[in-house]
Amino acid sequence: MPDAIVAEGLAKRYGDVVALDGMDLSVPAGTVFGLLGPNGAGKTTTVRILTTLLKPDAGRATVAGFDVVRDAGRLRGHIGASGQYAAVDDHLTGAENLEMVGRLYHLGVKRSRQRARELLERFDLTEAADRPVQGYSGGMRRRLDLAGALVANPPVLFLDEPTTGLDPRARASLWDVISELVAEGTTVLLTTQYMEEADRLADRIAVVDHGHVIALGTADELKDQVGGDRIELSVTSAADLETATRTLAPLAVGDLQSDATTLQVTIPVAGGAAALTKALGHLAAERITVRDAGLRRPTLDDVFLTLTGHQADEKTKETVR
């Protein structure tokens, strides 16, 4: 399948701040690509370049076959973008907002109106259609903003942190909508700082830090880079912690970690559930009270921590726009 989005060596700096430093991407048509990284990693800058809002200092990129700099004008008819700051007008109603976007896509009066109603229905906003956006909840605004990106049925969609700041229910409902779009064949580039979101939506994930890709693959491939299963268990006293650590050391296939403050032991193991049963057997033989125990696959959080040495949602840097 041809690539819907290709970026090669994109670079961008703002004064002394390097926002992008050799960003390479390729996204096959009809797939969801997740850009995962902390604030300031260069996710938003990448999206701004790919949606023609910003010119790169170096490198090149094409979206839907159009060069983002040379063919910017023609490209705009083939993309939709929805950002982390819902770009909707407070004083306009939901319907008016979408009709305006339709008019600016030059769909004509009638078609714009019709398309607005279709989208409002699809995004469960029919009831609020004729109310000013001012009274909408955060989730409704995001849905309206996403609807705005879909007015012209674009084959490529850019979603910049689509669920940042939403409550879990609004987030889940937005995820459902995005999944539906993908099922219809839309190519989606999604940026997020939530591992769960990338895990749930993206076919392939690029982990981004300091303006370039540091790891690339499916969620499973990335998790494998970090290692296999691990047992996490917590005990009730420091003495038990010491005994548990000593007893379970032979089971570990890597570095065993024990934390004296949380009374927690983490043991990388092979053999999945059988290893857990075995571990619990050993502990029972030593008469150690186990407060909590479980087998855990690595999350993308672990991936991020391993790859970058810092947590993904660590807010140490300002977002570079």
């Binding site: 809002l53 910003l54 306009l92 305006m100 008019r103 896509y105 030059h106 726009r321």
Partner: protein, 267 residues
């Protein structure tokens, strides 16, 4: 559709959006309708009752000045709206659409014309109620309103430029307030500029606001033969110079605002 038709159509779409916004936003509507009414009543009754002019009422002398002052004040709505839109990311949405890039600014300034028409009509009606009269031919009166509207349109581009240079609503409001007071008061809007002391006199006489006010007074017939004729050159040729000012403002500030807009959004 060709490029120009597209630009016009897109400009109209944006203008419609802004007009809807003004109609729905009580704070903006207050600036467009209430403030002009307050200006007319306050100035006419407070100053009009204290000051006497030879051969005419101060109220009549004053109203063209209030027209121009309102143009300067309501031009600030342009800048305020622009800075708010800049902060909200709405321009990003516009710029990912296949619309004409010039439409944002033309749409904004065109909707300001609608806004200025509304406040001008309000003021003229309230003015007629409190005793202001037009003493000239309908043609001259119409030319007077046209001249004010053309200047208001040109002035929108000035405030747009300032807004795009400053970028935040807070900064814009501060600067606009600081600039608009001397611009309107250091003129002949409320007093005879020829009688101002020292260096204030030439500044006021060459202030474009003075030229516009003088031109409006002439075209509406709000002048008295008993008062001395102005001696400064722009005030002696007030009507053509007013139109010339509008052209100069457009020639300078349309390209400047366009450039600043591009710079402000491509960050």
């Amino acid at each position: 559709m060709n490029t120009l038709q597209l630009a016009v159509a897109d400009g109209m779409t944006i203008a419609k959006r802004n007009a809807l916004k003004i109609r729905r936003a009580p704070d903006l509507l207050g600036g467009v309708v209430m403030l002009p009414i307050v200006f007319v009543l306050l100035f006419t009754y407070i100053f009009g009752s204290m000051i006497n002019l030879p051969g005419m009422s101060y109220g009549e002398y004053l109203l063209p000045g209030i027209f121009v002052m309102t143009i300067v004040t309501s031009g600030q709505i342009t800048g305020y709206t622009l800075t708010q839109d800049l902060q909200k990311g709405i321009f990003d949405r516009f710029r990912t659409l296949p619309m004409s890039p010039s439409a944002v600014l033309t749409g904004q300034t065109v909707s300001d014309v609608i806004m200025n028409l509304t406040s001008m009509t309000t003021m003229a009606l309230v003015g007629l109620v409190v005793g202001w009269r037009i003493h000239t031919s309908p043609f001259e009166a119409a030319l007077g309103f046209l001249m004010l509207m053309v200047f208001a349109y040109a002035f929108s581009w000035v405030t747009a430029t300032v807004a795009l240079a400053l970028r935040t609503p807070e900064a814009f409001n501060n600067v606009a307030t600081i600039l608009s007071f001397p611009l309107t008061f250091l003129s002949n809007a409320f007093v005879d500029s020829a009688r101002l002391p020292g260096p204030l006199k030439p500044i006021a006489e060459w202030n474009p606001v003075s030229t516009l006010v003088q031109a409006a007074r002439e075209l509406f017939g709000n002048v008295s033969p008993a008062m001395p004729a102005p001696t400064a050159w722009p005030l002696q040729h007030a009507v053509p110079v007013s139109f010339a000012w509008s052209v100069v403002l457009l020639v300078v500030f349309v390209p400047l605002a366009t450039r600043l807009y591009k710079r402000a959004v491509s960050r």
